[in-house]
């Protein structure tokens, strides 16, 4: 089922012509003895938003965490398969995970700014970690990233205040700025708006539209309206399988698979 979904290109889109930024091959993953992802393969286009949808517990978050080797930090985690970033295998034993995590930024479900650091330091700490010491560059990056996360206007006078003093939506945008500051090439977002109110959600969705001009974005969501609003491609996962993958329009308007159809029509989930 999954095989056909990935091997057959979506009609009308010459998927083979486009350069793929990130390719996941035969990913299977488990934790605590529970198999969460079963042999999933997916290709992610550069400068596009790919949404992963499915009912909770379908393995979409676990799959996302495999893409930047975050999954192996979970207790009792196992994983097989390959993830290619620009053709290079992330899971090759020659490469330490920390090198590629920096190229793949991640935004988590709940905002998790460093509570003891100021807003400025929250954004700048990733740069300092990677050896950037020049104060001018740090200032420029912090300002640029806060602007991209559309937070700059709200905090530009309070950069020394602790990150925890912000509201939930602002904290999440701060986390996005923190992820952008290390200049990643891919941005993974794990239900970034699930803990936020509608207005904050809208801000983040608008921001994703801006960011996709330069990034490969993969977003996990259980909100189907959100997937239709922000994504170009959508993969539907169910019980650890990738059931169907294609253009967002096609998945929602003309699903090929019966389960996908039932899910997008809201018959379960």
């Amino acid at each position: 089922m999954m095989e056909t979904a990935t091997k057959t290109p979506v009609k009308g889109v010459s998927i083979d012509d486009v350069k793929y930024k990130l390719i996941a091959e035969n990913i299977s993953a488990s934790y605590d003895g529970i198999v969460a992802v079963k042999n999933v393969s997916m290709k992610f286009q550069d400068r596009a938003v790919t949404a992963l949808i499915g009912p909770s517990g379908c393995g979409k978050t676990t799959f996302l965490r495999c893409l930047n080797r975050m999954h192996e930090l979970t207790k009792n985690a196992t994983l097989t398969g390959k993830v290619l970033l620009d053709g290079e295998d992330l899971y090759s034993t020659k490469v330490d995970p920390i090198i590629n995590r920096r190229k793949i930024g991640m935004v988590f479900q709940k905002p998790n700014p460093f509570p003891t650091m100021s807003i400025y330091d929250n954004v700048a700490c990733g740069l300092k970690l990677n050896g950037v010491k020049d104060r001018k560059i740090l200032d420029e990056v912090v300002e640029g990233c806060l602007k991209m996360a559309s937070l700059w206007n709200e905090v530009k006078n309070d950069l020394k205040k602790p990150g925890m003093s912000l509201s939930g939506g602002q904290q999440q945008r701060l986390c996005i700025a923190r992820a952008l500051a290390i200049q990643p090439e891919v941005l993974l977002m794990d239900e970034p708006a699930s803990a936020l109110d509608p207005i904050a959600t809208q801000k983040i969705e608008e921001m994703i539209q801006e960011l996709k001009k330069e990034y490969t974005i993969i977003i996990v969501t259980h909100n189907m309206q959100q997937a239709t609003r922000v994504s170009d491609y959508t993969g539907f996962m169910y019980l650890g399988d990738l059931v169907e993958f294609g253009e967002t329009k096609q998945i929602f308007e003309n699903p090929r698979n019966e389960i996908t159809a039932k899910y997008v029509q809201g018959q379960f989930g």
């Binding site: 975050m70 930090l73 995590r101 709940k110 460093f114 509570p115 003891t116 990733g126 923190r178």
Partner: protein
């Protein structure tokens, strides 16, 4: 769901109970509460009585010596020439505990970090248990081992080389390396307080949410960098609390230190060298009690020493508990350790 299941089981048990026994009179309920209240109040009464008894018991020495009981260095129990000053023992306590903390704190934080961040899950519980067993060994056994075994190693392998290297020119390594001195007592003391600090710091580090670590890993941090960036700042005040709690234990530790510190008195006990016999507030009480038990000014002086130690330990522990309680809601570890 399970709660309701359990309460069903319990309620059926209760139905049987209600049938079996009378519901009891409302007076018994009140009496029961009063008994429980009295038991809890007993703790406060004991602490108050400790203060009162130490103050009255030491009154004679305060009357005779005044403030110089705190600042003086004389310690003479010969009749008619009696004179008591606790200053050397206050210093001895601080220096001894200080050196022990210098050794124990980094080691304990290391252990805490290993157990919370690095240890495979299977190893974590048994290793934590082994560390806690260190706290279960009675002080007097540490003393016996220190006196009969450890002391010789310290003397031959640490003190003699250091003494030969730096000689009497250096102040802190001056004196004959005999093995029964401030250094040996401090090292044993460090071993004894490691489990306290280590198990509390482990709990505090484990209380840091994983999302914090993940944020650091996402930025490309190594394990150590994630610890430094996410875990350490988050657990700072708790770790300080754990350290102070360890200091509280170090200050009051008696038997092992008594058996190893060499027991100097008077001005000779003011610590200058590591290789010099010393004396702490706790050890002078244990050492001189037998001679002083008949009463008189000597006894009052020892009770006065007890009062000083009490105040020191009280202040340290109050500060520590305020800091630790903020982080770890229940510090069961502290009680078990």
């Amino acid at each position: 769901m399970v709660d309701s299941l359990i309460s069903n089981i319990i309620s059926s048990k209760c139905v049987m109970l209600t049938i079996k026994m009378k519901k009891g009179s409302p007076h018994v309920d009140k009496i029961f509460k009063i008994i429980a209240l009295a038991a809890a109040t007993y703790v406060l009464v004991i602490i108050a009585m400790i203060v009162i008894n130490l103050v009255t018991g030491s009154a004679p020495v305060w009357q005779k010596e005044g403030i110089s009981f705190l600042t003086g260095s004389d310690w003479n129990s010969v009749e008619d020439r009696e004179s008591y000053g606790a200053f050397p023992y206050i210093m001895g306590t601080l220096v001894n505990a200080g050196i022990a903390m210098l050794i124990a704190v980094p080691l304990s934080f290391g252990i805490g970090m290993f157990l919370s961040e690095l240890s495979p899950k299977l190893l974590r519980t048994p290793l934590a248990m082994v560390i806690e067993l260190l706290a279960a060994i009675p002080s007097v056994v540490y003393g016996l081992w220190g006196l009969l075994v450890f002391r010789a190693y310290i003397q031959d392998w640490i003190e003699t080389p250091l003494h030969n290297l730096f000689g009497d020119q250096s102040i802190i390594f001056a004196g004959t390396p005999f093995g029964l001195d401030i250094l040996t007592a401090s090292i044993i003391l460090a071993i004894m307080i490691i489990p306290t600090i280590a198990s509390i710091s482990k709990e505090i580090m484990l209380a840091v949410p994983n999302s914090q670590r993940e944020a650091a890993y996402m930025l490309g941090a190594t394990k150590w960098e994630a610890f430094r960036l996410a875990v350490l700042p988050y657990s700072k005040s708790g770790l300080i609390g754990a350290t102070i709690l360890g200091l509280g234990r170090a200050v009051g530790e008696t038997m092992a230190v008594t058996m190893l510190i060499g027991n100097a008195t008077g001005a000779a006990a003011i610590p200058t060298s590591l290789f010099q016999p010393g004396q702490t507030l706790a050890t002078i009480m244990a050492n001189e009690f037998a001679e002083a038990s008949q009463g008189g000014l000597h006894l009052a002086a020892l009770v006065g020493i007890g009062l000083i130690l009490f105040i020191m330990a009280f202040v340290i522990n109050v500060v520590a508990h305020l800091l630790v309680a903020k982080v770890v809601k229940s510090h069961e570890g502290a009680v078990l350790a």
